[in-house]
Symmetry: C2
Subunit: 338 residues, 2 copies
């Protein structure tokens, strides 16, 4: 970046970039809503043709496409725009790996407001919005289940394959199932597995639909209600606890894992999937930064280190906890043995 | 970043980073408001001592400081946080180069709302908020004048020095003076220069105060009102048109430069300061990205290329326009000769 100050001197540039970073969020959201990436994938590569396809002004399209080029999501060659490799795979609505719908969950007004009130959250040590995202039957979790599903397919496949290395599971409890794909891929990989999926009723409807679409509907059973309150039943070989613990404080997590432990058959396992920061809590960047999302949107949640999760599981009665080698996208999987 | 997908395959990571980028903005804003950087500069380096100094919870401070460390504004060594070099210079409130106050202008609710409505702006080809930031006597320009001044001191010094190479200026018109520092530094470098600063009355009060504080108050004269409507007078050696043209369309800019041209003495010059993207409009990144700020916050403004500005000035009657070598931070200076 051009600057009048010699490079060895500090400049305000990184500060300005941080202050302006929200523009990237708004531009990505606008581009998805206007279907800019899809328009380009369809062969509309100039300002005029994109504007026509997206029902927008040429001036607006030129500015947005230039902005997306500056941030690497488009290419620009003379007057023609093209898609960067990741934009082509993930942001073109007709691509099977399209994940643009994730903005519906990741950028709800409630999540944005929770972050806008970060000063209050830091002062208080928890979401400025009280229960934050944790209210029962919060419709945002339906958005989550619908919007995040495409992002979870590959991690869920890896997870199911990884778990089979420890033996087949026949009776599986899928806690806070959401989109349901973690349990669904266990069922797909083992045609004799029965999945019992627990979540709020409105969210379970999404998991049920996905199970049917993906051909395992007859082995996908529903336990509607709060995972803290419902009766799980017993005799499970495997309990999936994916992206759940981070919403709660360690004492609540430990008590909850006791309930999970009690539902397992002898020799049963719990698969705990989480963003796991290193002990320094500042690496790797994305799992570590997830702690901020939990501060702003939950009363007492956090991104937990492996040591913290191991302690919760041990305190809940599990005999040992192992970190799986495989990476599930940005998530890690830990297996706790009854 | 750890990922299960081989690096040659596209991953959703950059999409997720863009969608989450607003968190950087909120965290920087929160850290400035809570005086985290100042607290650390004062020697409070642990979560407990920072929390006490900033009247915040330990959990919140830990999460915010870790987030700022992930993004490079703090360092973390065991349990002790430190300031990155730029944070120490620019974000510690007791530093003479403190610029944290810039958030008061850069992140006004109106600017944020204008970006939140980016889809409307792209459809329409201009700010979704009508006149955007361009309303007369908009108090946000007082915030601009107050908040942005520390960022402008060094560029203004460089600019004044650069302009002296072309000869001393004795009667100087400072258009849309804002904080007034461009004119003020011309006056400071030439003790015989008289500065006539034009801006809305509420904003001019800031320039006047700065001129007095910086010892040139007796040579700093005020022309209150809209630069389009007021009478500038005539016989100026130098007119400063700094960060003004980008708010308007080329026809308005050209008409305005005619008015500036008419105010100059024979041999007079206009110094036009702007963010100037290259002809490709996608580099350098920050000046090019400024086009988005103009789309969202003005009816018809833009970041103009050198060729576009040269055309406006020529059409307004200037005989030649030259780009100065010196960089004024992210701005460039062009000199238009009567």
């Amino acid at each position: 970046m051009a600057t009048a100050i010699p490079p060895q001197q500090p400049t305000p540039e990184r500060f300005m970039n941080a202050i302006s970073a929200y523009q990237q969020t708004e531009a990505m959201k606008a581009a998805i809503e206007l279907e800019i990436f899809t328009a380009i994938a369809e062969g509309n590569t100039t300002v005029a043709t994109i504007a026509k396809r997206c029902k927008a002004s040429e001036r607006g399209v030129r500015t947005l496409c230039d902005f997306l080029t500056i941030h690497g999501f488009l290419t620009k060659d003379g007057v023609e725009y093209g898609l960067a490799a990741d934009a082509a795979v993930f942001l073109n609505k007709t691509s099977p790996a399209y994940i643009g719908g994730a903005i519906e969950f990741l950028l709800t007004p409630r999540v944005r407001e929770a972050h806008a009130r970060m000063v209050d959250a830091v002062r208080k040590g928890g979401s400025a919005l009280g229960e934050g995202n944790m209210l029962a039957d919060n419709p945002d979790w339906v958005k989550f289940a619908e919007a995040m599903m495409p992002l979870m397919v590959m991690p869920a496949q890896i997870m199911a394959g990884e778990l089979r290395k420890g033996g087949e599971a026949y009776k599986v409890l899928d806690i806070a199932a959401g989109h349901g794909v973690y349990g669904i891929f266990v069922a797909k990989q083992n045609p004799t597995a029965q999945i019992h999926a627990c979540d709020w009723k409105n969210v379970l409807a999404v998991a049920e639909r996905n199970a049917q679409t993906m051909g395992v509907g007859d082995r996908h059973h529903l336990i509607p209600g709060s995972a803290f309150d419902v009766e799980f039943g017993s005799g499970y070989d495997l309990a999936l606890v994916a992206n759940f613990l981070h919403h709660f404080n360690p004492a609540v997590c430990t008590a909850f894992l006791k309930k999970v432990h009690a539902s397992l058959a002898p020799g049963g396992r719990a698969a705990i999937v989480e963003f796991v920061p290193n002990p320094d809590r500042v690496s790797p960047p994305m799992p570590a930064a997830f702690s901020m999302m939990m501060l702003t949107t939950t009363p007492e949640g956090d991104a937990y280190t492996f040591r913290e999760i191991k302690k919760m599981a041990k305190d809940a009665g599990f005999s040992r906890v192992e970190m799986a080698e495989a990476l599930l996208g940005l998530d890690r999987m830990m297996v706790a043995y009854r």
